[in-house]
Amino acid sequence: MTERIASILESLLLACDRPLSVREMRETLHESDAAQVEEALASLAAHYQGRGIELCEVSGGWQLRTHPDNGPFVQRLLAGRPARLSRAALETLAIVAYRQPITRAEVEEIRGVDAGGVLHALLGRNLLRILGKKEEPGRPLLYGTTKEFLAFFQLRDLRELPTLREFAELSLESQKRLDSAAPSPDEADDAERPPADAE
């Protein structure tokens, strides 16, 4: 049974140009048992191990994608410009991703430079969207990430973003200290505290 389902799912995934959610798969299959679908997906994912295609869980669904190692070749075939983001765009995306919903002023406070142009460009590329307006004077717009953002960086959901690293302990001097001594378990707490106290 699983084999039959896996076969159908493989066809669906190939024919679909966006991540396909488990719910959509179940509706298409008329299969009420989610476990059956999950099992079939797992067997498919295993099937693609070591091949040029991967079955990836991205942006709330599943999608067949080429293997990252083969990226340069696919790029050559498609002869397109590789999707590139400037450092400004990446930093802005990272800030919004971790701090959403966030206003332009808050992004600028962190980066120390004007963010209007970058935010606008990222909205245009559909990597960011406007979530609403903040209840404060001027009612500034609140920015957040989109499903396309998740798909773009091959993320299952926002929780898959790596935890922010605290850097208080990572200056070179303390880095040396860290290297010589085993890090104490409360290191992270130290980093959390405002720097004035940590002095």
Partner: protein, 264 residues
Amino acid sequence: MNEAPQSAESIYRIELPVFEGPLDLLLYLVRRHELAILDIPIGFITEKYLAHLELMRTLNLDVAADYLVMAATLTYLKSRELLPPDPNAPIDEDEEDGVDPRAELIRRLLEYQKYKDAAERLATRPTLGRDVFARGPVADAERPGDEPLAEVGLFALLEALSQVLDRTGAPAVHDVVVDRVSVLERIHRICDLLEAASPRSFEDLLEIDEGSTRAFLISTFLALLEMARLRMIRIEQASFCGAIFVSRAGEAPPPPDALPEEYR
């Protein structure tokens, strides 16, 4: 790579990392001189920071206002370190006694460093359209989601211009128009127009201002070409022979000073 004879400019080459702003520059200086962020020596870092701004200025790089604000902050912090506390000074409400005046700067540096790191790690992820590819049309990473607009060829632009010229039927009068419209002036005007609404149709931009003399229209046209060259605007056409749209490019347009001299 052709072996061009070395010009005076190419003999001396200074490699400068590109900084994303004052905080980025400060972090670079901290790392370069192996300083501890938590105990940042304000005098030293201020000196290095100002020296760097000076270098940027010598290289004719545009030193954005953000850098100058940081320079002022650093200089202020430095002066506070040098001066003995003034007992008669009115107590600033924001500054309690004993709080390190550097605290705010240190907090911002740490905060920025955190997201800079997160951005670097985001960049290493398998990225759609760069490392991994999915089925279906290749996602136009430039602007997915927008109505698909094709890039316009130069001749389509020229044709649109001639259409407008025909339509306005600019009369062949023989007075000499003395006040020529400069391309730079038109660039400013188009910037303003696009700021108010973007995208706008090509015709709209050409015809919006009255007094459409030939020289005027041509200046506007040249301004559009120049802006496209500077990547200040995007020019797109949805279908063959369809309307041409002009929109602001994603990044903020370069300041007018960045325009080449000959267009002033």
